[in-house]
Symmetry: D2
Subunit: 325 residues, 4 copies
């Protein structure tokens, strides 16, 4: 059964290969004209079943950061940071009597309620395929003229992202190369070195999580955001085209590093993955504990919020060690 999945991965890879030499342009999905999730189609009952059966541990690694007022945020283009506020408090309810039930009731029943607001690309989150397109189209050729309303995209919105259960692999570049220089771009060579050091092998359909080490600065937003290292175009091309991976992730703000490595594209890794290849990725993960325990292969389980039409969603991925021997 694995062969079917493998073939699909190859199909994706070769289909991609044919336009690799061409100019940057949105990919048309091998999974049909209505496909909205791209490479996540590689996930199947078989792949899920396999990884779940390999679980050898009941230790669960939490790969998400915490959301708090003042947390790191991409706000250079005016997007709102994370806000949290109380809508009801035990004391305030007594003063306000919002339910009209009076002081005795509101003294007895101590109510706390709250609300949040945020840019959808904050904290540990997944980018949907509509987040970046090329020349006015997104993955699979969907256009804003036809599919973008005031409440987001009718296609490829976060609500279309399925629950994700698959084999995950950590590539610990921080451990392999030591502290990365500012703005460093991790290459395919770096990934191969780290994999060799870890004695880990990639398989088609894998979820590949790359550790830069940046998550250790998460509580200090200025530090976390300051010239962080990222992943190069060369590295992701190797992962997608040679290795057929299904999903990517990392622990820095924006997966790729800035300034961009191409002059005519300010987010070439984003558009390559999302628009050209239909490959989503998870940003701002917390990987420190996984790295410390040298857990490189695991069942990766994550379920993003079904935010209709949205270009991304927060999620809290879990990793549970597996035996792949």
């Amino acid at each position: 059964m694995k062969s079917t999945r493998f073939l699909m991965a190859i199909l994706l890879t070769s289909q991609m290969a044919t336009f690799a030499q061409q100019k940057e342009t949105v990919g048309m999905s091998p999974w049909g004209s209505d496909d909205q999730i791209g490479a996540l189609n590689l996930m199947s009952d078989v792949s899920r079943g396999k990884v779940l059966s390999q679980i050898i541990s009941s230790k669960v690694y939490d790969l998400s950061v915490t959301y708090f007022v003042g947390m790191p945020s991409f706000d250079a283009l005016g997007d709102p940071g994370y806000q949290y506020w109380l809508t009801h408090t035990p004391h305030g309810t007594v003063v306000d009597n919002p339910n009209g039930l009076g002081e005795t009731m509101n003294h007895k029943v101590s109510y706390t309620g709250d609300a949040i607001s945020m840019y959808t690309h904050m904290g540990t989150h997944i980018d949907a395929l509509n987040h970046f397109g090329l020349d006015g189209k997104i993955w699979n050729g969907f256009t804003p003229e036809e599919h973008l309303g005031d409440k987001g995209w009718k296609k490829a919105g976060a609500e279309t992202i399925p629950p994700i259960i698959s084999r995950g692999v950590l590539i610990d570049v921080k451990a392999s190369k030591g502290r990365l220089p500012k703005n460093y771009r991790i290459t395919a060579h770096d990934l191969k070195d780290a994999l060799r050091r870890q004695r880990t092998r990639l398989e088609p359909g894998d979820i590949v999580i790359i550790r830069t080490g940046q998550a250790q600065f998460y509580q200090d937003a200025d530090h976390y955001l300051d010239n962080y290292p990222g992943i190069s175009l060369d590295a992701v091309k190797w992962l997608v085209e040679d290795k057929g991976i299904m999903l990517l992730g990392s622990d820095n703000l924006s997966f790729e590093a800035f300034p961009p490595e191409k002059e005519d594209n300010w987010v070439p890794v984003h558009t390559y993955l999302l628009a050209e290849r239909g490959v989503m990725f998870i940003e701002q993960m917390y990987l420190e504990e996984l790295a410390q325990d040298m857990v490189y292969e695991f069942a990766f389980i994550a379920a993003s919020l079904k935010l209709k039409g949205a270009s991304g969603s927060p999620l809290r991925p879990l990793a549970i060690p597996i035996n792949t021997k």
Copy 2:
């Protein structure tokens, strides 16, 4: 090993029994003076390991509703509904040039970004133990005077809720009793009937999900919110005190029904579970598919967002069928 877990459940149950006759008052945790998650302490590597090893299917049931503008919301006390807005669009980026890179760049790189705001108790979400207290205290005696700042609680906030992996049981009351009358309160008797019909047995530490059938109206907020049925105090007392369950869930707005069944407490089921017993629960679940396939026992996997200090958090729980024979 199961015995340890069972003992903890009994301990919890008996400790609770001692104050069952007393007036409503916050429970002090058997897990220590700093405990912030109550009954979720029943979860352990052993319990996780057991349920993961029982997985027999690779079909994944998605138990979450979708978030959209106009979705149902408890707004009677002024809380903000779900809002979604675009912060960047392919066309708008060309007109605004927010990155200063000019028209050619912004025509080529088609950027979509968005933001959300919401009451934390919207869609499929879990209530943290600080959501409702009694007489100015929450579970385990924490007070707002000491622990409630402007950015939420220093204790029992949503960030303290661990990833949840345990055995889940669906009790399909809708299937057992047929369509429930408006404002109907499901009794312990109803639950027992449904369990008998399903031939399902509860075990200490279980996650119990009760289907009222209300989720089928979710797309029509007025219908969903209109005099929905809920769970009675009698039913939850049986589940918690006699059965030692760890976590609850249902498919209606607020788990319990309105008007409240006690005169001096407008949310007696909330305060009983959260403040007296330290038992959290998940509201507004989507249970229709699970019910249709008559899946009554499953690995329940869910990970709420770590919203610091918050009284609740959205989450997208998954169910994977298990073999318990």
Copy 3:
């Protein structure tokens, strides 16, 4: 000097007359191809000077409602209602220590801060000319393709609305006709009757404020929003085309009444005024005190917030009685 102003009004009126028989279409401004404020161009140093010199009273009438959580709101199409929340409180600052200055400092300096969010068309507010257009254009032919970015319109945004100081006239239809039936549309005839009863005469360039009486229900949102009376197309055409008024206002939610009086336009009064004629209007005013004191002519002074690109803005208009003899 008044003659110049009068001529401009006539010019506007006659220019309008030429397209009165035609299909609904956006007007091109007689004030030039970059005009963004339409009829407010009728205001001048002369008109301001005249009305200021006529002030006979120092009593100031406040024509604005109060903003509060739960206030009336047009939310049928998903727009956010008014939200208010505390960001800092004296107690919360002590618990959180957000400034890092410690408990003694935060006990001494008792800080309260807060934030708001709202649809721009809430409470007493003015509609900018970009709020409604026809066939994809707004007043003066500006198009979204060229002028609408992600942060609003580059043309006719609320920041272009000048401070408004001019002669204001109250037409108290409620006093003249008694309580208006639900959904009633005030006609030109009703306005003439009321003016006759008041012995008030309109002049070109006037600001005309029409009282329906709805403001007395403002504290009860359900009542205020329930099938309120409004102003008919016939009435505003008379005011604009025959009387050359400069700005309109009323005390109900949306100036016009629903259901709309045309089958092929759900807001014909909005598009007539904003898109065809370049005439703004103020909604949800508080007129009860003015009416009670039978103040029909006044200096009208109002300054909306300069919200860049916005389709409207809250404002708190003032009325000061004048002697026009």
Copy 4:
């Protein structure tokens, strides 16, 4: 009649003098135990009438900045910046059909709607007396225990601030002293120098607007916020205690400068004015045009939004030159 007003000012001044030597503590209002507006009580029909009768010009100076995404903001303590977003656009309405009226209707009626959110102390705004207190009380002794609910203060909220019409005086310190050094604190001496240079005299009940020159950097938030000059405690004490002014204003972020001039109070000018003396002030004004035209005395007209319970409100003040000879 002016004498009455003068007497009130003296009364206020002398009453204040009695506790000037004491420790910082909230003032009890000479206007009664329910007073919530402090020195604004000095405004009367007489004072309004006088200044309105002195108007000699019909030129209106707009003293407000524009609100835009990215505008300067005090966000050091986590408060939300200004956000603006579109809720309806002509194109989006066609794609979404939110009103259910179909494509033809939504093509014809081109709808633009939008929403905002912001900290209440952004742009040109007035601080309400509840914004800062001392030792857990605000002006006139109101306490959060009794008067602060979840929707703000029951006392001294922005909705209590009356429309403001009074004589305004510009003190152009920038013109008098030249460009002020970073973090410079304007002294009473500086004010006297500038007044002498301008040949302007203060009168009790005046609104005093102090120009630092900072407004010229408003479009560049980083520059505007960077170590701006402000007003010293010495200067405001002279204005309040010796001159009996009613309201203050300036063109910088926070009126006073940082770091604070007292060790045990991080906002001594705020607490002196708001909590000790009941004197409000307006921040982030735009004074460049007024200064350029050397307009030093004017009718000052401003009306803040009636935000219930809020600690401040945006407003757009106007200045109209008067003849005081």
